[in-house]
Structure formats: structure tokens, C-alpha cells
Symmetry: C2
Subunit: 112 residues, 2 copies
DNA sequence: CTGACTACATTGTATCACAAAGTAGCCCCC
DNA sequence: GGGGGCTACTTTGTGATACAATGTAGTCAG
């Protein structure tokens, strides 16, 4: 299990990445994230996040009726969303490199 | 610059890692993190974090006078802190693998 | 017509990074 | 000897965000 604090900030970029693969709706995004190994993301997390992305102009919603169940709200990435995704990837790898350097030094001290 | 939301949760584990290398005090930890590429961590971040770790039993404080400036509060890792660090490393790499899988799939769609 | 599954929305809560302000010791330099 | 600068810790308040809980509503199987 990944603690929720570690997901903070990461989740937003990952949702953008999923949407970039193909326009998707909330319920579907949560399932895809679970399949990628993020664990079961709560609905109370995914829908407010999508509304924030919509309000910030990173995604554009489009309602489509569903054959089974209620209508789905598909989200597509905008140009602003593309930029936000690129920035997320850059920040995340910068952080990853810093953590890797730190942990490499931390392990070395074990076996002198 | 790494956005502060991405640091959430990560910072706690990284502070444990720094302390594991050698007992350290707040001001020193912030400087080491900056050297590793985390950016300048605010004092309003580092000291409350250390107090939380102290209260949770992950670190043990020890006051030592300083030759230049006020006394320093050195923190050493406890057994509980070692376990917390191991759990952080496991969670962080689990998250990293999930993000890597997702981003790998996301890029592939670009060049069919 | 009851239950199960899909699908979206809203409200409230806990956690955490950070800014800001305060306190205090030591040093250098004019 | 007093002001400026650096070290060092503490406290208070704020904003962002993951999540639990709850509610609404559509479809379909039995």
C-alpha cells in the first residue's frame, strides 16, 4: 500500500498521463490507475481532482451516453494540460534523482 | 523547482535517511537536503517535521552546545526510525515503478 | 422489484509544506 | 560597544489535497 501522503501531487500528473493516452472518464481512470499499481483510488479523490483540472483548463469535458449505466463525462487533454504534464514529468524526475542520490549515500555507510 | 505538493510525505523519509547517515540537527539537515537537490527547505517545514518524528519515536534528540551560535539539538535514529525508513523506501519505490509503467505507456502512443 | 454494478457529485476531515514572526547566542567590524 | 549578519530553534496560521462518507441515478439480471 502506498500511503496517501506520498500520492499528493503525484496523482494529478498521473491522471493527466492517463488522459493523454486517450480521453477517459473518472471511473475508468481510477481503474486504470489501480491496474498500474497505484492502489484503489477513492472516488472522493478522483472527481474533485478532475473538477480542479477542468477549472484550471488542463482538461475539457464531454458528456457521452453509456450503453450500460448513466452518462459518462469524458475528459480530453488541452494544450495547457500537455504543458502541465510535461512540467509534472520534469519535476517528478528531478525529485526522483535527488532521492536516489540520497538513498545511495545512505546505504553506502552500512558496509564500510 | 520541485512543487511542495510533490514533497509531501517524501520529505519525512528523506529526513530519516539523512539522520541515518549520521546524527544531525535541523539546520544541518536542511542544508544537506538542499545539496542533494531538494531545493531550500523552509525552517517552518523542517522543525515541525522533526518534532513529529520525535513524538512518534522515530528519532531521539540530544542537546549539544555549539562553538559558534546557540546549542544544537542533534537527532539520532531509533529502531522504530529504521523501520519507518525501510517502509518509506519500499513505498517510494513501489510508487516509482507505477509511475514509470504509466509514463512508458503514455509516451509510446506518440509515435505509432 | 430487489440487488448489484456503474457513474458522478458533495461535504467534512486529517495531514503536511510553508510563510511569517519571534527569541537567542555568537561573531566581525567600524 | 553597538549594529549587522549568521546560526539555530519555536510557534502560529494558511493553503493544498487525498480520502471517507453519503447521496443520487441509471442499467440489467434473477
Amino acid at each position: 500500500m502506498i500511503p496517501s501522503q506520498l500520492l499528493k501531487g503525484t496523482l494529478e500528473g498521473c491522471v493527466l498521463a492517463v488522459i493523454r493516452q486517450a480521453p477517459a472518464y473518472g471511473y475508468e481512470i481510477a481503474q486504470k490507475l489501480a491496474a498500474y499499481g497505484f492502489g484503489q483510488i477513492a472516488e472522493g479523490t478522483i472527481y474533485p481532482l478532475l473538477l480542479r483540472l477542468e477549472r484550471s483548463g488542463a482538461v475539457r469535458p464531454e458528456l457521452r451516453p453509456s450503453a450500460l449505466g448513466p452518462s459518462r463525462k469524458y475528459y480530453a487533454l488541452t494544450e495547457g494540460g500537455e504543458r502541465a504534464l510535461e512540467e509534472f514529468i520534469a519535476s517528478y524526475s528531478e525529485l526522483g534523482r535527488a532521492v536516489d542520490r540520497l538513498l545511495a549515500d545512505t546505504k553506502k555507510e552500512e558496509q564500510p
